[in-house]
C-alpha cells in the first residue's frame, strides 16, 4: 500500500468534491451588491416631461425606492403597474423615483402616458449613474433609507410582496 499516493490522492479527491459541492445550489448569475450599507451615489438629473432637475439629496428624510428601467425591457413593462400602484399608496411617506438610460425621451413619455405615471422619472443620458450604482441590466431597484444609505437591492421585476420585503429593510433603519 503506497501511503503517499493514498493521502495525496484522497486529499485531491476531497478538495475537488468539496469545492464542487459548495458550488451546487448557488446561482452563478446572482451578483451581490457591494453598495449595500454604503451611501447612495448622489446625482441631479433631468425629469422627463417637465425638464426640472431632481437632486437625490433633496429626497433625504424619507426612504426612497430607486428603480432603474428602460422602455425596451419586457420585465420593466410588467413591473411598472406594481410600482405605480404602490407609489400611489405609499407616497409621500416613501419617495419613488425612476431612472432611465439608453432610451429616448419620446419613448419614455409615451410609455408613461400608456402605463401610468405616479412619480418622477429622470433620464441618465450617458448611463453614468447606472454605472455608479453597479447596474448590470434592467430592471434593478435600490431601496434607500431616510439618510440616503442603500439598504437593499433587487434585481428583476418587482411584485408587491418583494417590494414590501425590501422596503422594510430601508424603513427599519
Amino acid at each position: 500500500m503506497n501511503r503517499t499516493v493514498l493521502f495525496v490522492g484522497l486529499f485531491i479527491a476531497a478538495a475537488v468534491v468539496a469545492i464542487l459541492f459548495a458550488g451546487l445550489g448557488k446561482d452563478p448569475q446572482a451578483i451581490d451588491s457591494p453598495l449595500i450599507g454604503r451611501p447612495a451615489p448622489t446625482f441631479a438629473l433631468r425629469e422627463v416631461g417637465t425638464g426640472k432637475t431632481i437632486n437625490l439629496e433633496q429626497l433625504r428624510g424619507r426612504p426612497v425606492v430607486l428603480n432603474f428601467w428602460a422602455t425596451w425591457c419586457v420585465p420593466c413593462y410588467e413591473e411598472h403597474p406594481t410600482l405605480v400602484a404602490n407609489a400611489r399608496a405609499l407616497q409621500p411617506r416613501v419617495q419613488f423615483l425612476g431612472v432611465v438610460f439608453q432610451d429616448s425621451e419620446e419613448k419614455i413619455q409615451g410609455f408613461l402616458n400608456e402605463r401610468g405615471h405616479a412619480y418622477p422619472t429622470v433620464v441618465d443620458d450617458a448611463g453614468k449613474t447606472a454605472i455608479a450604482y453597479g447596474v448590470g441590466g434592467v430592471p434593478e431597484t435600490f431601496f434607500l433609507d431616510s439618510s440616503g444609505t442603500i439598504q437593499a437591492k433587487f434585481v428583476g421585476p418587482l411584485t408587491t410582496e418583494l417590494l414590501d420585503e425590501n422596503l422594510q429593510k430601508a424603513i427599519r433603519q
Binding site: I31, P41, R46, G51, G127
Partner: protein, 158 residues
C-alpha cells in the same frame, strides 16, 4: 433658453472623481486613447453576459461601460483608478484579472508553487531513474503461465 442652459449645467451624474479622487495620469487622445480603451475594457467583466469582457460584449450595458472607460481615460484617470471605480459599484466580480491581494493572490501563487514542486519531483525522479536498474528486472513477458509462477513465488511484490 438661459434657464435651460443653467438647468443643464446643474445636472450631474455621479462622477468617478468623487470616488477615486482626481485623475492621476495624463489625458489620452486619438489612436492611443482607442488602444488603451480596448486594453482596459478587456479587464472589466460585462455584468450581464457570461464571462465576456466589456471590450468583446455587444450588449448595451457593456457598450455603455466601455464609453465610460473611454471617457475616463480621456480625462486622465489611470487604469488603477478606473478599475477601482468599477469595483466600488459592481464588486470584485467585475474584475477579470484577480487582484494580487489577500485570498485571491492564491490563484497566482499556487501554479508557480506547483511548477516549483513539480520541477523538484521531476528532477529527483530523473536522478532515481539514472541509477542502474535493479538486476532482476527484465522485460515483463505476458506468458500467463510464467506470470502465475512469478506471482506465486514472489507474492506479487519485489
Amino acid at each position: 433658453m438661459a434657464f435651460l442652459l443653467v438647468a443643464l449645467l446643474l445636472q450631474t451624474a455621479p462622477d468617478a472623481a468623487t470616488f477615486v479622487g482626481a485623475p492621476q495620469g495624463t489625458p489620452l487622445s486619438g489612436a492611443a486613447l482607442e488602444a488603451r480603451t480596448v486594453e482596459v475594457a478587456a479587464l472589466l467583466r460585462c455584468p450581464v453576459c457570461q464571462g465576456m469582457s466589456i471590450a468583446d460584449s455587444p450588449s448595451e450595458m457593456a457598450v455603455n461601460m466601455k464609453h465610460q472607460v473611454h471617457d475616463l481615460l480621456a480625462r486622465g484617470f489611470t487604469e488603477e483608478q478606473i478599475l477601482d471605480y468599477f469595483e466600488r459599484s459592481y464588486g470584485q466580480f467585475v474584475l477579470l484579472k484577480p487582484k494580487c491581494r489577500g485570498v485571491t493572490s492564491l490563484v497566482w501563487v499556487l501554479p508557480v508553487l506547483v511548477l516549483a514542486i513539480g520541477a523538484v519531483l521531476a528532477i529527483s525522479k530523473m536522478k532515481k531513474l539514472e541509477r542502474p536498474g535493479n538486476p532482476a528486472a527484465e522485460r515483463t513477458d505476458d506468458d500467463p503461465y510464467l506470470a502465475r509462477v512469478r506471482d506465486l513465488t514472489r507474492g506479487g511484490k519485489k
